[in-house]
Point group: C2
Chain length 205, copies 2
Amino acid sequence: MGISERKEREREDMQRQILNAARTLFLENGFEKTSIRAIADVIEYSPATIYLYFKDKNEIFYELHEQAFQALEEEFKGVFLIRDPFAQLVELGHLYTKWAVENPGLYDLCFLMEAPMEALACRQESWKKGKGAFDLLRNVIQRCIEAGYFKAHDLDTAALTVWSYIHGLVTIYLKKRMDVFEDERDMERISESYALFVRMIRDGL
Amino acid sequence: MGISERKEREREDMQRQILNAARTLFLENGFEKTSIRAIADVIEYSPATIYLYFKDKNEIFYELHEQAFQALEEEFKGVFLIRDPFAQLVELGHLYTKWAVENPGLYDLCFLMEAPMEALACRQESWKKGKGAFDLLRNVIQRCIEAGYFKAHDLDTAALTVWSYIHGLVTIYLKKRMDVFEDERDMERISESYALFVRMIRDGL
DNA sequence: CTTGACAAATAAACACTGTTTATTATATTT
DNA sequence: AAATATAATAAACAGTGTTTATTTGTCAAG
């Protein structure tokens, strides 16, 4: 009886279609301007159909948020080619910043928007994807400690501190708060600040 | 001819009423759920009337954002009682974090939401309020350099780095991304991380 | 081959949203 | 008191997320 298997496949196909349409529209126009009706238009189904495959709009964006984390982890794969753990950490920051700047919509989804976290809270699930990415940072810092780069701090505290800095830097830029500087040297300023931070943790973390 | 003066007064009164209603509703229910109709209901006028006093919804929230910055600067006044510039900087971080945690809605308005920046971009004005607050940080760091606490870095870079960290820390918390930790020790973790960061800039900035 | 049952898709409605326009009521000036 | 300028609004427009009742399509059993 392969019929229920086929039905399941068809269901997943439909979900994929919806998510693809949603992602495209979201990356073009943002969350608010991505309407269920517009998604329905793209996949050539009625708006009500979408609610047969997703509970609500938040759940769609929760799914996109999971995919975005997948893409981010993919980006991070590059660090494993590096031997030295401190160089790994530095590169991790670079990749994080680069990915954020090149995918502002996805960054929003992963680290700023409420929609995915609300969908998560409703299903009373824990934030697996976030934990995964954070673990990666944690492990790299752990190896930095073992290699004698950092003093033996509480690992979580060190990881949170590094993440806070890079997340803050990126968010200031993405949310257009770099207008505090008169000029338009945003990218240079990001580089200069990151260089300073790296120097600081090299000597002092 | 005091009549045009009275008209101007009445106009400002009305704007105040609208902003007060908008602020209350916003702090209770957030931006999306604060509708023009709800604001109109509170002040007992028709929705269309609001558009005689503000161009659009963004402009209302731009004005609230300015008021929020006023409140933040008020909070900052405490640091001027402190002599030592490094202690000033540490306290500034404390006050910033405290204000953010106690006023998540206002923090959003000041540093994360697009609405006020869009209103600002439309009028092609520069971000005065943000610059003011940033200047405060810049000055404190300048005095830290002069007092020999920090090496003579580029001032803007140092200020951006400190702001990035504290903004990131606060944003991770406010946007509920501290779920990466299993436990509920959010506040302790914030304190521990801030202590680590302070130690780090004391020795290494 | 037809009928009954189940599943999938939808049209239409509900209760909202920001914003604009044409109209009415109020206040000021002539 | 009449004419004019100002302020306020009702109603409409074009959109939103979501739900419900209805129709369409598929497929197995009689």
